[in-house]
């Protein structure tokens, strides 16, 4: 396999060498063009070699990073070189030579046309609704079938996906006598080794409790010893993005609870260390452990409440998000130059890289499934997710897309750098809208059936802003960034399930209002 890859790379290098040699025969005078072009092409070849090696070694993350750092830099440098030539044809001699030869342009010039802008009419055409044809009678029913199937999946997922946490705990304590003494939350009494259940001795307890994370509940079993100290913390279930959970596990987060007394405060950032890059998951897990410890302290060990109440999490981060959300209503800021660019940079920096809080289809589906985190500790989630949805229903406008969304900002900046307005062919454009709707439907079906918001959230946001990803996801990131470089609003127009979901909510609101007005 590796031999084949090296042969292909060798072939590609040969083709590029011949291409450069042919170009050098005709355009020798341009000194700035050559180092740039060769540098760009070498970077692209190197990134292919890197990515191939990484994939074969089973490290997709490394492949993605290689393609991004080297391949994408190569594409940018090559594009700038070609743009430079095209914008100064006479000085560089490129177009001049071509036109002079019998009035016919040579092959190399034609190749450079790949970087030419689309005519204005075509750019405007791409902004028009993509599907112009009137849908047939059969297609009229497709949306209703989709809505009905989503409702079915939602009901099925909510009623069927109830995990049996009791069995999970019993499995882990095989051979010990476990007696269930409470239902909500589930509490087991663990008789001391060798003794019978319900003996007069104070035994140990296992409490199963939940904390609300970004994607759903974080279920944890906490084993408390007879000395009122935590003996074991078991992560039983979670609905978080797998990459964040991996971070929590790798940081040995549960280990720091061992030996802690049930009357401790358990406050992240004070007596509990937060795992960097997985703040929300850390808070959710701590919330579950705190609840388990304090329930057992008051109910079973009869200890007095001496712990601090969980404080409101309100600091600079929350203020920044509130300000950005407020400014999304001020047209002078989000739509007019130069403030538009300042606002965009702020959303990329704060909502994207600093907080990594971009809304995904998982956030919207989680809201629909009732996975709502505590307002006191997750104000950012409330402002962005609940704020956006409420604005759609109350005001009838989507303040998130093209304003707060940091991924839109990244795509916009990349496209500005290239200055290109590539567009897929009409055949693809005709099917782009149904395809994006299908992707939204498929993502929601997977989320509802699995009751796991992260399962269908295919957006590469977390990878861009915190380099967290899983499997195939890693290949999507470089593709989307390269796509945004050449095609304006590549992600927003063709794929974004969150954007399409919010648009669907807007349409739903409009239709409901029209229906109400008609019946009046």
């Amino acid at each position: 396999m590796m031999d084949l890859c090296w042969t292909i790379l060798g072939g590609l290098t040969g083709i590029i060498a011949i291409f450069l040699w042919k170009l050098s025969k005709k355009y020798q005078k341009d000194l700035l063009f050559w180092p740039g072009l060769i540098h760009g092409l070498v970077l692209m070849l190197f990134s292919i070699a890197w990515a191939t090696g990484a994939v074969l070694e089973g490290v997709p993350r490394s492949a993605s990073m290689g393609l991004l750092l080297f391949g994408f830099s190569g594409i940018i440098i090559t594009t700038i070189c070609f743009k430079n030539i095209l914008s100064n044809p006479i000085e560089n001699g490129l177009l001049k030579d071509c036109v002079l030869k019998d009035g016919v342009q040579n092959k190399e010039t034609k190749k450079t046309q790949i970087f030419e802008r689309l005519p204005e009419t075509e750019i405007n055409a791409s902004k028009k609704p993509i599907l112009d044809k009137k849908p047939s009678l059969l297609f009229k029913f497709v949306p209703y079938i989709a809505y009905a199937s989503l409702l079915g999946a939602y009901i099925l997922g909510m009623t069927q996906n109830i995990a049996d946490y009791e069995s999970m705990v019993m499995e882990k304590y095989k051979g010990r006598v476990l007696t269930k003494i409470k239902d909500d939350p589930i509490v087991f009494e663990l008789a001391p080794n060798g003794s019978e259940a319900n003996s007069s001795e104070i035994g140990e307890y296992i409490v199963i409790s939940k904390g609300q994370g970004y994607g759903g509940p974080f279920v944890i079993g906490v084993h408390i010893g007879e000395d009122a100290k935590i003996r074991r913390v078991m992560l039983l279930d979670n609905r978080e993005t797998p990459a964040f959970v991996k971070k929590v596990e790798n940081a040995k987060f549960p280990e720091q609870f061992m030996g802690k007394n049930v009357v401790d405060d358990f406050i992240p950032g004070e007596d509990i260390d937060i795992v960097s890059g997985a703040t929300i998951s850390t808070r959710a897990a701590t919330q579950a452990i705190r609840e388990a410890a304090h329930i057992s302290a008051t109910n079973y060990f009869k200890l007095k409440q001496s712990w601090k109440k969980e404080p409101w999490v309100f600091g600079l981060e929350e203020i920044l998000v509130l300000v950005l959300f407020g400014l999304a209503f001020v047209k002078q800021v989000y739509a007019k130059k130069p403030w538009k660019y300042v606002y965009m940079a702020a959303t990329i920096g704060i909502v994207g890289f600093y907080l990594n809080s971009a809304i995904s289809i998982g956030s919207l589906a989680g809201l629909a499934m009732g996975f709502i985190p505590d307002f006191k500790t997750h104000m950012i989630w409330w402002v962005l997710v609940v704020g956006t949805v409420l604005t759609i229903f109350i005001k009838g406008s989507n303040v998130y897309c093209y304003r707060i969304c940091p991924f839109y900002g990244i795509g916009f900046v990349l496209n500005k750098i290239s200055g290109q307005k590539f567009s897929p062919s009409k055949g693809v454009l005709n099917y782009a809208k149904p395809v994006s709707n299908f992707l939204l439907w498929l993502a929601l079906m997977i989320i509802f059936l699995s009751s796991h918001p992260a399962a269908g959230a295919f957006e590469p946001f977390a990878m861009v802003f915190s380099l967290n990803g899983d499997g195939v996801h890693w290949f999507l990131l470089p593709l989307v960034l390269v796509g945004s470089f050449f095609i304006s609003l590549f992600w927003c127009r063709f794929f974004c399930p969150c954007g399409h979901g919010l648009s669907t909510l807007l349409k739903f609101r409009k239709k409901t209002i029209t229906l109400i007005q008609r019946n009046k």
Binding site: V428, I446, G456, G471, L476, L479, I487
Partner: protein, 36 residues
């Protein structure tokens, strides 16, 4: 020449669109396999 340039840019766009779509579908299939 302009037409040829446009057709090349359409080919590049179609490839980017198609491969991205395949990656998304791949991710969703991967999710289905791991969660069900």
């Amino acid at each position: 020449m302009e037409n040829q340039g446009n057709s090349l840019n359409k080919i590049v766009s179609n490839i980017l669109y198609g491969v991205s779509l395949l990656c998304i579908l791949g991710f969703l299939v991967q999710s289905v396999i791991s969660f069900f």
